[in-house]
Every structure is written in C-alpha cells, then in structure tokens.
Symmetry: C2
Subunit: 484 residues, 2 copies
C-alpha cells in the first residue's frame, strides 16, 4: 500500500490527534539522543489507549509497514531513529504510575513514565527505583527496558534487567503477552531478560513492574587522586577485590578533570592523572566501616590525595563535577561523541593508554569519565562537525575503541545499546553462528522483520561487507534501513 494509503488507514482507525503526518510535525522526531543520525518518519502515531497501540500494530502487521517504538527519545545509540517508510510509535502518553505496592516493594507503571518519577512516587514510602541513567529526569522506563539502561549505581544495584519483575508487551501482530511474574523465578523460558535490552526488535512494551528498594540510611563519597591511570586502574581492582561493592565507583582522567574544573570549579585536584569517586551506602555503621576500608585500599594503591564527604552537602559537591562532565565538554569543543564499551576491570589501565594512543593518531582529543567499577567506559571524543571529514574520523575512531574493548574480552556496550551506532562492531563481537542464533530469535517474535528493522543485530550480508568497509564521503551506509 502507498504511503498516503497507510496514513489514511491510520487516520481512519485512530483519533486525529494521535496521528502526525505533516513534515513540521514530524521534525521533532527525526532523531533520538544520538543526533548525528537523522531521518524523518513516514508518520508518527501517539496512541492514548492500549487498544490504539494494538490496532496500530495490527494494521502495520497486515500492511507490512515497519514500526519503530519510541519513549522519551533520549537513547544514545540511535535505537529510536525513524524509518522513512515506517511508523514511529510514540509511547509518551502512557505516563501513569498504576500502583505502588509497598508490601511487595514493587511498582506497576506505564512505559512512558520517567525513570525519576518512579523514585519520586516511591519516596513517601522510603523506597526508590535503583537504576539511574544520567538522563533519568527525562528518559522513560519503556526505553530503559528496551536498552537495559544502567547508571552510576548499577555497580551495586544492577542494570534494568535486575530491577524489573514483569512486562506487558504486544507482539507485532498486536497479541498481548505477560512476561515474567511478581515471583523470584518464572517457569518457561526467561523471556523477561530476553526482552530487556532487545532494543525494540521483539515486541512493544506496554507495562512494566519494577522492583523498589529501601532508600539507604546514608551514603558517603571518597575522592582520591592518582599520579597515573595505571595506579587508578589498580585501585579500582583492589577495591572490588577487597570485598566492598561500592554504590558507585567513577573515574575521571586528566583531560576530563581539566574540562570539568574550567566549567564548574569544584576543586578537583588538577595535578592528578586520574581521580576516583567511590560512594558507599547503607547503614551508618556499615558506611563508616567501608569508607575506612576504601581509604586504606586507595592509600595502598598510591593515592596522593584523599578526601571524604562528611555530610550530604559535601557529598553532592563531590559529585557536582562528575555530573557536569558532559556539559563541560560542550565548552571545550563544538561537538562530542560519547562512546560506551565495557571491559574486564583488570584491563582498565591498558585500555585507557591505548585510547590515548588512538586519540593522538586521529588528532582528536578524548576525555574519559566513566563507571570504572563495572568497567563501563564512556570515552568522549571531541570534534567539530563543521570541519569536513571530522565526524567520519570521529566515528571511525569510535569504532576502533569498541574493537579495542572486544580485543580484551569486553563488549561494545555497557548501557547505551547497539542501536544503529554500533551495528558494524556486532560483526566483530559475534561469530556467524552467534549472529544466526540472534536472527532465529528475532524470527521467533517478528517473522516479518517489521519491528525496528536494521538496528541492534546486523545481517550477515552487512558483516560480510564490513570486512572491508570504510566510512567515506561522509555517508554511513546502512543497507538494512534502505529497504524501508
């Protein structure tokens, strides 16, 4: 059916205010948080009821129209990039918290509820929802599930997958399925984890039951400065090996410290090659004991300066610089590109040194601000999109960093997902048998390949091409997307 035909059908089945089809209405939806990729959708559908989501899916399924689901659009890997020939299904109106069950410590929420809103609603009961992506004020829980979002505190409290109990989803055919349960274990295959992080390729999330945790009694941060990234990397390993599981353990390298200090003046030691911020939380007794232990470990690992927050205000000050790191990059450079890879902790120093070498080779500065405790790197490549070829060089450098992560036994994503951004590196991460197995799973949920096609899992054809692929002429080839 023609584009006009599809749009007419949608208007016929849905209230007028739920369908956007004029170019100026579509513009706000042309990209997600990774704005280097842009594409206007054929049409945007913003349903208000489950029945409307269902009839949109049924209609698209019948007409073989691809569907990209979108939450708040804060994703950083292009997972919600629209398709020129597809429907962008926006779930933002599903923004209600349906129940806070304090006895079972769970909340039932709609997918468009923001991450932070859940914790705010649970606050009167002394509870909160643990995963805390940087975008938590804006990002919505449906997208958190789709990308298996993390955050500073996921070292201790786990990723999204560890903090949800069940999902309501609709298949591409509009069939309603409940996945998981309120119990610890579920019979049958564990589709809950399979669905979490599946980047919108398997089903559309229409409801989430999240776990709520009691707010820790108190928290304290140790800031330690090191003369080399090697020493800081070794300190990270030593803290974990000592048996402490910090609530958060973040590393800033010298370029990041300087960028932050210029912008925020938060008093970070500018003579350090790297600083660590280590937060512990729990009961007062426990926090005091663990803070002492962290201090001892950092001292033994060669820290030349150590500070401990003594009250909530100081704790917030310690974090202020870390939290301002991304805006600070905007001062240093017209554009920056935030990478996301994960490596075994013990290779931290090696990988940071290799990244520095790559940075020099490509002539592009890189700052490192990241979740060191779980080995989740976020190298920020500074570039200027107005300089011809610089975006392409940046993306090539980013790809090299991801391949470096793979080479030490790591992976190409920690919490941002693969989306469109890292799809080529999936060919490096997985062998043919593994990719075929992924495709077989996709087939089991969406045999017509209509849900978010071209993202997350590369075709074998793409991988064959990637063997010799180089980005040129400022155009990234995405053959799977061109189908639509």
């Amino acid at each position: 059916m023609s584009k006009t035909g599809i749009i007419a059908l949608l208007y016929k089945h849905l209230p007028e205010q739920c369908v956007l089809s004029r170019a100026e209405e579509l513009r706000p939806y042309e990209c997600d948080g990774l704005s280097a990729y842009r594409q206007l959708p054929m049409v945007v559908v913003i349903p208000e009821t489950l029945e409307q989501v269902q009839s949109t899916l049924r209609l698209c399924s019948e007409q073989k129209v691809p569907v990209v689901a979108r939450g708040a659009g804060t994703g950083l890997s292009g997972g919600a990039l629209p398709l020129a020939g597809g429907v962008l299904l926006v779930l933002s109106r599903f923004n209600r918290i349906l129940e806070i069950d304090t006895q079972n410590r769970v909340a039932q929420v709609q997918p468009g509820v923001t991450n932070l809103a859940i914790s705010e609603a649970a606050e009167p009961y002394g509870l909160y929802y643990a995963p805390d992506p940087s975008s938590q004020i804006a990002c919505s829980i449906g997208g958190n599930v789709a990308e298996n979002a993390g955050g500073i505190h996921c070292l201790k409290y786990g990723l999204t997958v560890h903090n949800i109990l069940s999902l309501e989803v609709l298949t591409m055919e509009g069939e309603a399925i409940t996945i998981g349960s309120q119990a610890l274990d579920s019979p049958g295959y564990d589709l809950l984890a399979l669905m979490t992080g599946s980047e919108g390729l398997l089903a559309v999330i229409t409801g989430v039951t999240v776990k709520l945790l009691p707010r820790p009694e108190t928290a304290q941060v140790v800031l330690a400065a090191f003369g080399s990234v090697e020493a800081a990397g070794a300190a990270v390993t030593a803290v974990i090996a000592s048996g402490i599981i910090p609530a958060g353990l973040e590393l800033l390298d010298r370029p990041a410290i300087h960028a932050v200090e210029k912008f925020k003046h938060c008093g970070y030691p500018v003579d350090a090659a790297a600083i660590l911020l280590c937060e512990v939380d729990g009961t007062r007794e426990d926090v005091t004991a663990q803070t002492g232990q962290v201090n001892r470990v950092f001292r033994q690992a060669g820290a030349f300066e150590q500070r401990v927050s003594h009250n909530e205000e100081e704790r917030q000050e310690f974090w202020a610089g870390r939290k301002a790191a991304f805006p600070a990059m905007g001062r240093l450079s017209p554009d920056y590109y935030c990478m996301d890879g994960t490596i075994p902790r013990k290779h931290l120093a090696f990988v940071l040194n290799e990244i520095e070498t790559l940075s020099k080779e490509y002539g592009l500065p890189i700052c490192n601000v990241f979740h060191a405790g779980d080995g989740n790197l976020h190298p920020l490549i500074l570039y200027d999109a107005n300089q011809p070829g610089e975006l392409e060089r940046t993306e090539e450098l980013g790809g090299k960093i991801l391949e470096l992560c793979i080479s030490v036994g790591g992976t190409i994503t920690g919490e941002h997902g693969v989306g469109l951004e890292k799809i080529n590196q999936m060919c490096v991460q997985f062998n043919t048998a593994e990719l075929q197995q992924f495709h077989a799973v996709k087939q089991a949920f969406d045999p017509e390949q209509l849900l978010n096609p071209g993202k997350a899992i590369p075709t074998l054809h793409r991988c064959a091409e990637f063997g010799a692929l180089h980005v040129h002429d400022g155009k990234l080839p995405h053959p799977e997307l061109e189908r639509f």
Copy 2:
C-alpha cells in the same frame, strides 16, 4: 535408523567406555531425583571431550534422535528423565575447574563440577559461589544453570541466573556458541538468561563462567516462634518491608517442627504454630545492627519466643533442624513428594491455610519447610506409594497446590523447574499466545524438537486435553514422550 543402527554408529564414533547400552548399565540412569518417574534410555553416552559431545550431537541431529542432557541427576522435576528412543548425554566427566580469577572474581568451570566444589576451590581466596541448593554437595553446575537453581541464600544473593556471566554451549547441530561475556552487560539479545532455566531444551551447556563473592565476615541467625501462621507470614513481610535483606529467611510450620524434633531433637519450640529462621550476614557491625532490627520486627509481629545465635556453633545448631527436615519426613512416612511453587509474600498465610484445607480434603498430611523470604513454598506431601491410588492422589493434590499458587499471582516453580512434573500446570500458568511464543523460541534453537522433547513447555494439544485431564489407573499420560 533402527535402535541397533544408532548404537552401532555411536560405538563407531566414540571410545567404547563412553557408550553404555546394556540394560544393567542403563538402570542407574532411569530416573533423576524425582524417582516417581522412571524410563530406561535407549543408550547412555558419557563423553570425555568436547569433540565427543559435538560428534554425538551431530550424529543425533543427522539421524533425528532425541537427546536428553544430564548432569548429576539430582533434579526434582524429572527434567533429566530419559527417553526410550533417545540418547542420554551424561556430562559428569566434565568435572574440572579451569580457572579461578580472583581479580575479576569469576571462575571458569566445566558443567559437571559440583556446586560445592566451586566454593571449596574459591575458599583459599576468601571467595565463594553464592547459590546453594540443598543438593549442593552432589548437584552439578550445568544442571544448576539448566534449572536456574536457588537455595536458602538466593533471597539475598539471587538465583543461578544472577550469579553467572557466560556460557559455552553446543546447539543440537553441534555448533559452538558463546553466550554472555565477562562484562556486566552484553550486546545482542540476552541469551544468557534465556538459556538459564531452559531445562535442556535449547542447547547443551559445555562451560560456565560463574561470579564469585567475598565470604561475609560473619553471620547470625534469629529463631522466632509464632502462635499462628498468619503472624509468621506477617513477620516475613514486615522484615522485608523494614529494608533488611536477610541472607536467608525460612519458615517451618507445626507439622514440620514436630517431624524435625522427633528426628533431630534440636530444641525447636514444639508449641509454635510456625517458626522463622532469619540469617543476616556481612560485617560484624552490620550483622549486629540487623540482628537487633530483626528481633524488634519479630517482637512487634507477635513472636512469643526469640533466640539469637551467639557463635558459629550455635548458628549451625539453629540450622541443623531445618537441614534435617527432608530426612525427617522419611521417618514419618514411607514416601514424600516435595512441591515447589512461588507466591507473592503477602499471601503466605492465606496460601498456607488453603494448603491445610486441601491436606484435610485429600487425607494426606503436609509439612511446610520453605524459603519464606522469597515466597518459595516447598509443601511436602506425605504418602505411601504402596497404598493403591495414593501416589495418584498425591500428584493431584500437588497439582491443586500449584494452581493455588497461580491463583494468587504466583508461579509453579521457585527453583526446581517444570520438567515433566509440572507440565500440565504450565497450561494454567500461561495462555495460548504465551505458550506459542515459547514454542517459537524453541523453534529458533532446535527446529527439529530433538533436545529434551516433552519437558518444560507443554504442546497446545496437551493443554487442550488437560482441560479435562484426570490421572487414572496409576498412569500419567505423557503424549509428547511417546513419540520417542
């Protein structure tokens, strides 16, 4: 190909000591831990190398011979019950611990290594593997993964799925696939969780990377006696709601207390309607603080007697009765049947009362000894298999208990898996669309339905029949198994 033909082919491809085909050699393999179900396999293969596993699978795949993988055979849901026309693939010779990596706190092990052997090997480094099924001295990690095993401490430390990082598996075609990684998150679909608890239906596990945790500095147990199961149930909810996550929180009801006391004389209060055993672990400061808190909560919930273990010896004594509960049943009754269902904690008292009603209705005594903290029930039905019809009445009663769990929003398994035992209740737990989705996932891994067919996921045909199914003549119909 004929049975003799298949066996001849196996002898041709494998060393003689790896193939068992005489009836007396097959006998030890006729059942797993659920001995109510027995079936001699066509042939047993006990490979010694990965290549032998691979060639067995390739051969079976080509000849369309079904394969049931088996670890230590301690499973309690008949998941490793052989097929008359199938190969029983025994992985017990893969019993080596390949690496203990203390820096990353992981161990790489073969599937036949026992659960306890991992903790023993990690002990010199102050580490251990957290999940602790009752059978941990015998059960092997491959089976733990296949059934997503739990244990007393999974309330705090999670099930198997939360304690492993990656798997090496072979598909039915003998293709090697690595699933998961040593990093916190993995790109692509989360096949690690999908594989965990898939009861041998998706692939054969040939290697496991498990997480190791630092041994807690100390642990303490609070024993509290209650005058009613309602009060004990409310105390469980109150402990969790107070923000404590106990390392273990177990409940024994009156029949269980009496059974244990007759057998073990461990001094449990025999006038109690229920007792709770609540263990907390961690640093000394933390344990002292939490023990106090647990005591306060239990007092407020109406405990009429409370004791705290003051040293390791006392702690072991407190647990001795709980650990002897299953053998104690053997004193009371010639046979017992251990059920396994999970319910939301807040329904504990209601469900225990309903179970008591069912027990009276069927004239079969039931003792309850279970993981109350995570709502994982283990009703033990006492019966005598030599009394005509009593096994069948027991199984019917067991089915009713599982359906009761489902009716309050729970599930039909906590840690034992579905296997053959609970396959009918899967029809109650899931609707047609959900079961179809499970079958589609199976199709994605094993399109010929050769891996452990007839277990875990019922056919839609079986569910249609189950609508009116009643067990009669002492024979449980298992139509899917009859194919082989």
